[in-house]
Amino acid sequence: MTAATSATGQPAGGTPAAASPVTTGSEKRAEMLAGYALIVVPMLLFLVLNIGSVLYEVFVSLWKWNVRTGPQQFRGIQNYQTLFADDIFWRAVQNTVYYAVIWVPLTMALGLFLAVIVNQKLRGQAFFRAAYYFPAIASSVAITILWIFIMSPEGLFNTVRGAIGINPLFAALGFSANQNWIGDERTALNTVIILNAWTTSGTFMLFYLASLQTISGEVYEAAALDGASWWQTFRRITFPLLRPAHYFVATVALIGALQLFDQAYVAGGVGGDPNNALMTVVLYLFNAAVSQANFGYAAAVGVVLFAIIFTATLVQRRLFGSTPSWL
């Protein structure tokens, strides 16, 4: 996306302005009207479907809401009070934050690493690009099921590590030879983090790759002339020039992390088993809304989640400074 906007942004900003003739008042008005006419449909959709549903959610969250008949009893902030008093909700928040803090940097680093590798002029470059991207096109549910099998006590992972003799290493870390990775509350979430880092890194590789290819060869030539090492080039040139990509990938990853649902649901069921280790905020919301049909309460969860994501994105924006002009 960053690559696309910067590419089209330049000519749009440059040439037409110089070419535009002096306009009369009525022409300006007509132009303005045409402009509004063009945006009115998407804008209406946005207002109704996005802003409208957020406001509706806030409304629903103040009620005891029957699944069939709608508003049943006005509750005010009672749904929120119940929510904040629920240990499982806080466990869900804790899990979600932990997931975001570990997974976002991990998957970004992995994506960048893969992008740098496949950006080299290697033989079979296309093959590697496709291979690294492959997990991202597989359905997350299918791949989670596969992961459950691999990480089960009798699964591929435990068998392989036994066969190649690295079990003493795992024993030192406190894991038995037939550790139940997803069924054990101490390892369940980390196991899902590794799964998602693997499957999502391909997508982020793609974003980074697109951005890497917009970096002009001249800067590398200049660096080479100055005698910069590979690492120095990466540290001082590639990495900083990828800033728009970092911003984009980090935002997408963080929002995705805070909305973690499908892998947790498939691996841990509605209850986020074992012992809520895989309970995430969205799974908690899903549980309240769909399993317990407690729509008002679920709406309250949704509002809180909205607030969390909104704040996180704002914080992130500050962290990366003001949006670069070329973004």
């Binding site: 359905s139 054990d184 012992n275």
Partner: protein, 460 residues
């Protein structure tokens, strides 16, 4: 990207081990929906004479106007049902292809007896409760559908189900044949009936008969037997236990414990008797005599029995079709639930109802279908399929289910006896699992957390 697969997630619970809480009563999918009986349901109008309902079907055509008179029909509602025509949609989950076959068998019996009503059966794949919840929200529900005792109270309280009392009285359907324990679960706080039990299932001991010659009769004998089997015959553990109340409740009752007082006024899990019983259950894990299906790498205990990972499991009638089709070479037999310190035989039973949606547009047709499926003939055909036990006294015990049926004489409800049971089970299972994984094996926190959940549930 996350949302796109949400729908897919429903389809997959089968593989994620949804069978764990007993397929007979829990929504666990597993394909096999399209069964050939659809064609037989279309044709059999002319073979009506074969139906056992024929004797009743002969008379009521003329007495249709007087269908309020219930005496003549013998109370099976068929006289009234014969006057109804139209369509009805039916939905339920299907834990195995055998269930589908059994249901289609019952439905073709219905089509024969009641050619004027066409039943359109659609299996709900995936997480049944979730899928139905979305249908309730859309006010587009099947006319007649399964309701698991687990959450029947919630659905009744939310007004999702149609009270059946008017239909029962106008059709003259005799509900006294149902086992009271099963029927009472589907009564609302208002005393009305919101569902008729379609079947029951009890928990009993299923053991590998190559390894266990005489099944234990008491829990002490069970422990002795398990101890003697430990580490032998390639077993990973002598027994497979679920870390939750879906089976644990049977052991809790056997050892004199309880979850809640009969009048639902007081939690009873945080008492010495219950705590001792929970500790007993936990000690089997501690002593290496039992493992969870998850730690065995199986999706449920039945699979662990089939794979010969364990020699003894505690399951219900749904185990039979599974073993026959998946592990036909493994020899196993049933024994009644061993008695514990309470001294008297006890086990738990599960039940599921047929209910009518409050938003159903074909309620008469739906009830007509119900009178057949929960009636003597329909239930006979359904239970012959080998998945479940009859919930009526006048239906014969299906072949091979004697042990399980014996249990229904002294079984207590395994779910549906209190509101918020799903949350109570979750509280128990979460802490129990945690104790197992931390290897602390302490029943104290388990009963404390469960007690809090019970108190919360009964105070609402």
């Amino acid at each position: 990207m996350m949302r796109r697969t949400l729908v897919g997630a429903f389809l997959v619970l089968a593989l994620a081990g949804a069978c764990s809480s007993g397929s007979g009563t829990s929504p666990s999918p597993a394909g096999g929906g399209a069964s050939p009986a659809e064609s037989s349901a279309a044709s059999p109008a002319e073979s009506m004479a074969a139906s056992p309902a024929e004797s009743m079907a002969a008379s009521p055509a003329e007495s249709a106007g007087a269908s309020g008179g219930t005496g003549a029909t013998g109370g099976d509602g068929s006289a009234w049902a014969q006057t109804i025509s139209g369509n009805a949609t039916l939905s339920g989950w299907q834990a195995s292809p055998d269930e589908g076959k059994a249901l289609q068998n019952a439905l073709s019996g219905f089509a024969t007896a009641y050619p004027n009503i066409k039943v359109d059966y659609k299996e709900v794949p995936g997480d049944y409760r979730t899928v139905m919840q979305t249908k309730f929200a859309a006010q587009d529900v099947p006319d007649i559908f399964y309701v698991n005792a687990d959450y029947a109270k919630e659905w009744i309280d939310q007004g999702l189900l149609e009270p059946l009392d008017d239909y029962i009285s106008k059709s003259g359907f005799d509900t006294s044949q149902f086992f009271p324990g099963a029927a009472s679960i589907f009564k609302g706080q208002d005393g009305k009936t919101y569902g008729l039990p379609k079947d029951t299932n009890t928990i009993a001991l299923a053991y590998n008969s190559d390894l266990v010659s005489t099944p234990p009769k008491t829990l002490d004998e069970l422990v002795q037997m398990a101890t003697s089997l430990k580490g032998k015959n390639g077993l990973k553990a002598p027994m497979c236990f679920n870390p939750g109340l879906d089976r644990g409740l049977a052991f809790l009752y056997a050892n004199g414990g309880s979850v809640v007082s009969d009048d639902l006024s007081q939690e009873q899990i945080d008492t010495d008797a219950s705590k001792t019983a929970v500790q007993w259950y936990m000690d089997q894990f501690k002593n290496g005599l039992a493992m969870t299906a998850s730690d065995l790498g199986s999706s449920w205990c039945g699979e662990a029995l089939g794979k010969k990972q364990v020699a003894m499991v505690f399951e219900g009638g749904w185990l039979d079709p599974f073993m026959t089709s998946t592990y036909p070479d493994v020899k196993y037999a049933w024994a009644e639930m061993p008695t514990g310190t309470s001294g008297s035989p006890v086990t738990i039973s599960f039940t599921v109802s047929y209910s009518i949606g409050a938003d159903s547009k074909n309620k008469d047709q739906a009830f007509a279908v119900m009178t057949y499926l929960t009636g003597k003939d329909g239930m006979t055909k359904w239970t012959e399929g080998g998945v479940a036990l009859p919930s009526r006294q006048d239906v014969a015990i299906p072949k091979g289910k004697d042990v399980l049926a014996a249990g229904s004489a002294y079984a207590k409800p395994g779910s549906g006896f209190m509101p918020g049971w799903v949350d109570v089970q979750k509280a128990f299972q979460d802490e129990f699992t945690s104790q197992l994984q931390k290897k602390t094996f302490d029943a104290g926190p388990v009963v404390e957390k469960t007690a809090a959940a019970v108190t919360k549930a009964i105070s609402q």
